[in-house]
Symmetry: C3
Subunit: 157 residues, 3 copies
């Protein structure tokens, strides 16, 4: 059994993760990761086959920060608003203080023209560790149910 | 840290809020609000700009009751069934016994012809207070991600 | 009030229920039911009218197992990947150790061509019992918001 306080803290981490992306506060969102974090997006077909091929890979928080900077300054993409739904949090017993956590996610986007639509569904397959008593993502693997959205990826899933 | 019992009671409030709307038991749903409650729907653009302009505003529970009565007796709208999804509950530390609470919502509607579709996504930005030990909405602000649905608003979000 | 441990165990049951369907591990998913379980799918119109007419009915776990075997070996259906979202868990006080539990669900499917779309929304109206300290579904009633999807039903909701 995972202690209630631990469950609540990890549950809050996911609520905050979604909140800061959806509020477009990505610079603060970076704080939810450890400095040595891995952030990876993999199509479900690859994940099922155990293939390491990812459509996005950041091997530490600085790489993730570079993505945010590039999003702010350089990338050209459809302006939109994100809305995350995270469901079915599964927290497994920790190994060396690191908790494997899985959940399903759905991201909706609303365009500048005012159309809301489903953008991506898939699952998180994460590792969460506590730093000074606060949970942080040591590893975040986003398994997208279809690779068809790759070219549209801009803001984080 | 918010006490576990408080978290659970507030979490239950949101589950009940959704349940009673989706079951079309709006008269009972009114009981989840305080008599002096504010219920407001704002487009995201306005909320982000700090503009007070709302597309719907009830400044107490009697006004909210009037809306329900009018829905039952007078309004003409597409018959449909609602289905709410609420995700990412964030309960902040209380000020004078009032808890700021945020969450994302998605509402699906199923038409009389049997088509289910996304109706609205957005966020709740609420204030919850305890009355005789039971949590109630003192303020419910629904931030809709697009104002495009305004003319279709009938049942509560 | 439901004890925190009980809430967490039942919440985990729903997370696992979704996880094992979405991972296509249906043989293991059967273990979340009691041997004498009832699994039933009813259109919302019938449920509201108190009509017993269901579009699918398994009156024990062996019947449910037969469905899984038939899905694996005989059924012809569109290959797809499921993704479940369960929201608004409401756990009621137990009667003779059996907890009535309600929740909303949404199921997305992603086709082999890589298109993700909403498949079904509706509600669960369940009975959960503890077997050797572990929660199991004694009754699972899936109320679908539209009967229009009946012919497309293959994997469990």
């Amino acid at each position: 059994m995972i202690a209630t306080e631990t469950r609540q803290a990890i549950s809050d981490l996911y609520a905050n993760y979604a909140y800061y992306i959806d509020a477009d506060r990505l610079e603060e969102w970076l704080d939810f990761f450890t400095p040595d974090c891995v952030y990876k997006i993999i199509p479900r077909e690859n994940a099922a086959a155990g293939l390491p091929l990812s459509v996005m890979l950041c091997e530490n928080r600085n790489m993730l920060r570079d993505r945010v900077v590039s999003l702010r300054e350089a990338n050209i993409y459809n302006l939109h608003v994100d809305r995350h739904f995270i469901s079915g949090l599964r927290i497994e017993a920790p190994e060396n203080g690191v908790y494997p956590v899985q959940a399903n996610y759905a991201v909706y986007q609303t365009t500048a023209e005012g159309v809301s639509m489903l953008f991506s569904v898939g699952a998180y397959d994460d590792k969460v560790t506590f730093v000074n008593g606060v949970p942080r993502f040591k590893e975040k693997i986003v398994v997208i149910d279809t690779a068809a959205i790759i070219n549209l990826l801009a803001t984080p899933l």
